[in-house]
Amino acid sequence: MFSKIYRFTPPTCTLEIKGKKSPLSRWQNRDLLDRVQFKLSFDDPRLPSDQQIIIEGDQQDLEQLKMVVNDYLENLLHASFTHKERVNQDFNTTKNNPYLRSTGLVSQELFLGTLKGDRDRDKIELSTTQLFDLVTALQAYDTKISALSQLNQRRQKPSILIWGGVAAGLILAVGIAKVLLPTSSVQNIAESAKPESSTSIRELDRVVPPSAPQRAKKTLQPKPNNTLSSTKRLPPPPAVDTPKPKPNIPDPADYPLSKVARNSGFDSPTKQTESVIVIPPNTKPAASNFKEPKNNTKIIPEVNQKNEIQKDFAELSNDSIINSDNSVETVIKPAKKLSQIEQVQAYFSSRWQPPADLKQSLEYRLKLNADGSIKKVIPIGKAAKMYLTQTNIPVQREKFIDPVTQSQSTKIRLLLNPDGGVKVFTE
């Protein structure tokens, strides 16, 4: 038998799993570990070494610890939504089970119970980041165990021919293994060049959250085996034939909603206010329509909703004007004011000149004064900040749009596209 060790090393703790494995396990189709022992070191480098606690136990203890941490975490997370204080559960302390308890916004205590470690302390204080690291380590352990058991299941596929053929070789191999392996020592595979275990360690290290820049600020030495090779971005998932796996989508009929959300429209088109006018991205945007806004012309943007288009056309036909020379203009109410959105749209459509090197849309939140001028411009995103001076947004209390009425919003969201398009929303 030899030991196999897996080590999970987030920045503020180390979880070591040791298990026994028979050399015959490969032929026995067993990749699982026997007699699992764990060692959990709370070795945050910011702590003095005499405050760093180690706890050890068997697989059952580890499962219990996992359960305690998961229960606490679930409570913590949904408490944000229920607007209640985090409730510390009633703990059955008589059984001396471990439990976690909140002691503040960013602190909790882990009572060790039967897991009491080497320093005879019965509780450990954990900050939120330390708790996160513990969760990460336990999750990595879970993932490893699942991977091992899946590997085990795959290897249990019947292959009678193979078994028959190597039966004699097996007996020979057992004999050789027993002769060659030293009887008293245990092989620590974690550090060896064996592909599986070293791959495992590298793979596990990838789940460790990145911490190098932060830790550079701390004074203590880096931990061994801490090869954090994390990436900032998740790699894009492999392409799939369908965007969603069909079998797992519940039947909408089972769902309490009366309408499934495939209705891609507004709930009540007739109540559609003019506070939002949507311009579909596919159309050549406003630039072509609004190059020369005339005072007499109502600017009619396109909307997605078929009903809305029909409604607009109805308005158009009702508002034709017959001129003195009997020509008919399909112009609507020259005296009618443009809506707030339309005015902002019109303002920028003629003024927005996208810089040649601009590759992405720029988004801004505009806060308006009562007189319709701009009170504040908030760029959203780095690009928006960089290109702000090139957007021609009037920031010196210049005339912008008409004074804001009571029913109108004082907050506008402005999108300037690299193709010259302009989109406007109210907030």
């Binding site: 997370l77 949904h78 916004l105 939120t128 969760v135 999750q139 990145p210 998740l234 799939v240």
Partner: protein, 190 residues
């Protein structure tokens, strides 16, 4: 990987439409928090949807805006869209993907929160947390119907809690944690 994560989000039974309303508002809040800390705009959200092959659900700004407007606590009443399970799942995956991308930032922010708390100093005095809080309060006040109990202190508390939650959502299992959290909260809130 996206398929596995999608499969992780099985649909628990909801008892009534109120629970659905709660889910929408919770998801919107978490999205609001990640926007506030990481200066994420709708472009980044759509890019995340694209990376996750969720364009069919959240493909363009209009859909995104309508999904978020389905939060019944939002001020704007026009264009509200009912959120279905696929969309809830997509939003969960997108949120956790964005959180993971910004994990280092989140860790730094929570670390700062811990430091300032230990030093008994107001967290917003630090640049990172101050900006976050400003953004969060700004977004919250401009988008969400503010009722009497939602004073600035309450909104600040919520901001810090969500920041902490985001750190956990940035982990490998984050999507499961968020899914469970929103359904647990929905059940509790009735």
């Amino acid at each position: 990987m996206i398929n596995d994560r999608w499969q992780d989000l099985t649909q628990p039974q909801l008892k009534n439409e109120n629970q659905l309303e709660n889910i929408k508002s919770h998801l919107d809040l978490v999205l609001l928090a990640i926007e506030a800390i990481a200066n994420i705009n709708s472009e980044a959200i759509l890019l995340a949807a694209k990376d996750l092959n969720l364009e069919s659900v959240v493909g363009d700004r209009i859909t995104l805006w309508r999904l978020r407007s389905s939060n019944p606590q939002r001020k704007s009443t026009g264009g509200r869209k009912k959120l279905d399970v696929e969309e809830a799942r997509s939003l969960v995956l997108i949120i956790c993907y964005l959180a993971h991308q910004n994990q280092e930032l989140l860790r730094r922010a929570v670390g700062l929160l811990e430091q300032t708390t230990a030093q008994n100093k107001p967290p917003y005095k630090t640049a990172l947390l101050g900006n976050y809080l400003d953004n969060f309060i700004d977004f919250y006040q401009s988008r969400i119907q503010v009722s009497i109990e939602h004073n600035n202190d309450a909104i600040s508390d919520l901001a810090w809690k969500l920041l902490i939650d985001l750190l956990f959502y940035s982990g490998k299992n984050g999507h499961r944690l968020l899914w469970i959290a929103i359904f647990d909260a929905a059940k509790i809130s009735k």
